[in-house]
Amino acid sequence: MSSKPGPISLTKGNEAIAKGALAAGLHCYFAYPITPQSDIPEYLSKHLVERGGEFIQAESEIASVNMLLGAAACGKRAMTSSSSPGIALKQEGISYMAGSELPAVIVNISRGGPGLGSIDPSQGDYYQATRGGGHGDYRTLVLAPSTCQEAYDLTIRAFELAFYHRNPVVILGDAILGQMKEPLKEWEYQPNTEREAADWALSGAKDRPSRLIKSLYLADEALAGHNERLQAKHERMRQDLDWEEYATEDSEVLVVAFGSVGRIAKSSVRKLRSQGYRVGLLRPITLFPFPEERIRELAWSNRLITIENNTGQMVDDVRLAARNVADSAFFGVSPGRLPSPEDFLQPILEVWEQEEARK
C-alpha cells in the first residue's frame, strides 16, 4: 500500500464513499436505487464504468446482494449500497457471505423507520448492523464515519478489512452524512488486489484442485466447528478497534455518540467546555468491534450519557461495557427529528448535576 495526496473538492458524503471505493480498487458494484443514497449508484454508473469496472442496477435489493456474493466469490473488490429498508432486504446475502467467508462492502445510508418511515436521518439501524442483521450467528465489521473525509478514508479501510478478515464490512452512515458536503482530500492508494484472494477465490480449477465456496455444513459437528471458527474471527476483529476521544483527559461526564450524532455532540461538548464543564466525548468509529474496554476504563472516572438519533440502541452496548462500574444515561432524538447541538446541552448538564450531587 502506498498513498499520495490528490485533489481537494467540495464533496457530498455519498460521493465521498463512491470516490473512496474507486480509490480502493472497486471492480464490481451492484445496487438498487433508494433515497438518500442514490448519489452513490449515480456516481458509479459513470465513473466505475469509465474505469472498466462492472456496474449493474439490479432488479431488486436481493438480486444486487447476490450479485455481490458472486463477484466476491471470484475475489474481486465489490460493493453494494442502499438505505435501511433496502439493507433489510439484503440481509439474506449478507448472512450467506458471512457464512461463506466472503469479503464485500455494504453501505447503509440509513433513514427513518420502521417500515417505509421517512427519508430523514436516523440511527435506527444500529442493532441491525452490529448484530449481524440476518439469520444465524455471525457479525459484520461496522464502520461509522462522521465526516465526508472519514467516509472516504473508511471506505478504503473497509475493503482492506473485508479482505483481511474475509468477512462482509458494513459502512453505517445516515442522511446527514450522505447529503452533507465538505472539503474532501482524496489520496491515491494502490491496493494489492492481484494476490489478496489468490488462495481461495474461484477462477476455474486449473493446475489445482477445485474450490468450493459454501455455507452449508450438514455433517456431524461440521457446522459447530464452522461457527467456532467464525467466533474466533469475530474476536480477532478486536485488533481493528477504532474510536475518537475528545477532552477525556480530565472529564467527569463522558458523552458517547457515533456517526453524525457524534460530531453534533462534539459541538455540544465544546460549548459546555467553554463554560467550564469538564465534559468529554467518545465517538466509536468501529461499532463492531465495539470499544468496550476503553469505555469501561473511562466509566471509573466519568458519569456516562449515550446520545443517539434513535430510541436507544447503542446505549445497550455502553451499559454492557460499563457493567458493574457505572450505568449510562440515555438521550435519544427520535428518527424523524433532526438532532441539533442545543438539544443535547440540557441532558448532558443533568448528568453533570447528578455527578456534582454525588460528590
Partner: protein
C-alpha cells in the same frame, strides 16, 4: 466406487474427468443423476473443466459440487442467476453455469431468472423441472400440474386458487436477452441425446458470447409422485410433455 474394472469387466465408457465419481445421493429413478452426467460430459467435451465456475442452488441438487469437479459457489434459494451474474461480471473469461430446480427457479427465484435472461447475461442455466419441491417433501411448485396432488395441494392443484403451471422455457424465450431456450427430457435414449445436443448448443451460446442460454429438463420424482421409477419415467413421457412440450423455443446461436 472403484475406478478400476474387475477381471471379467471391460470399460464401456469412462466417467467424464469433470466428475468426481462420488456416489449420487438421489432417490432411485430420479433424473438428476442423468442430467448431472450430461452436464459433466458437455463440460469435458468442450474442454471447460478448468475454466468453469458452477453456481449451485437450494433443493435436491444442492450437492452438485460433490459430483461435478469444478470451482463452485453456493447461492441462496432462488438466487443462482443473480450470483451467476456477479460471477460472470467478475470473470467474463470463465464459463459460468447455474443448476436450479423448479421451486428454486420458478417460485422464489422467478425475478432473478427473468431479469438475468432479460439482461442477456452470458451465462447458462440448467433448469430441472419435476413439478414439485423435492427436498422439502413434495410440496406444490409453480410447475405442478393442475389436479396434481402434493403435500400442500392434497385435493390436487386448483386453477382457481393456485393458478396454472408456469412454462418457463416459453417465457424466457420471449425475452430479447435470451440466445437459446429449449425444453428437453431424459426419459428415453432419444431424448437424452436431444438433451445433450441442447446443452451443447447452450454452451456454445455462452462461449460465443451470444447471450443468455436456458435448458429446461423435465425430470421424474418417483418419491414425491408416489410412483415407482418406471411409472415415473412413463409419466414424464406421457403426461408432463402434454403441458410442457419438448422443443427449442428460441435459438439465435450461430
Amino acid at each position: 466406487m472403484s475406478g478400476q474394472p474387475q477381471a471379467d469387466e471391460r470399460v464401456a465408457f469412462a466417467l467424464p474427468r469433470t466428475m468426481t465419481g462420488a456416489s449420487l445421493h438421489f432417490c432411485p429413478g430420479c433424473h438428476h443423476g442423468i442430467i448431472h452426467r450430461l452436464v459433466g460430459e458437455c463440460l469435458e467435451k468442450n474442454n471447460l473443466g478448468e475454466s468453469t465456475i458452477c453456481v449451485g442452488s437450494v433443493g435436491c441438487s444442492v450437492f452438485i459440487y460433490n459430483y461435478i469437479d469444478v470451482d463452485a459457489v453456493e447461492a441462496p434459494h432462488g438466487r443462482a442467476p443473480a450470483v451467476a451474474t456477479g460471477v460472470k461480471r467478475a470473470r467474463p473469461d470463465r464459463f459460468v453455469f447455474g443448476y436450479q430446480g423448479d421451486g428454486d427457479l420458478a417460485a422464489i427465484g422467478f425475478s432473478e431468472i427473468m431479469h438475468c435472461a432479460n439482461r442477456g447475461e452470458n451465462v447458462t442455466i440448467v433448469f430441472v423441472n419435476n413439478t414439485v419441491f423435492g427436498m422439502t417433501g413434495g410440496q406444490m411448485a409453480p410447475t405442478t400440474l393442475v389436479g396434481q396432488r402434493t403435500t400442500t395441494s392434497p385435493g390436487g392443484r386448483n386453477m382457481n386458487t393456485d393458478g396454472a403451471p408456469l412454462n418457463m422455457s416459453e417465457l424466457i424465450a420471449s425475452l430479447e436477452g435470451t440466445a437459446f431456450s429449449a425444453r428437453v427430457a431424459v426419459n428415453s435414449i432419444k431424448n437424452i441425446k436431444q438433451g445433450k445436443k441442447a446443452l451443447q448448443k447452450a454452451y456454445r451460446a455462452q462461449s460465443g458470447e451470444q447471450g443468455f442460454s436456458f435448458i429446461e429438463f423435465l425430470s421424474a420424482c418417483p418419491t414425491n409422485w408416489k410412483m415407482d421409477p418406471l411409472q415415473a419415467n412413463e409419466h414424464v413421457g406421457q403426461t408432463l410433455v402434454q403441458r410442457f412440450p419438448l422443443g427449442v423455443f428460441k435459438d439465435i446461436v450461430e
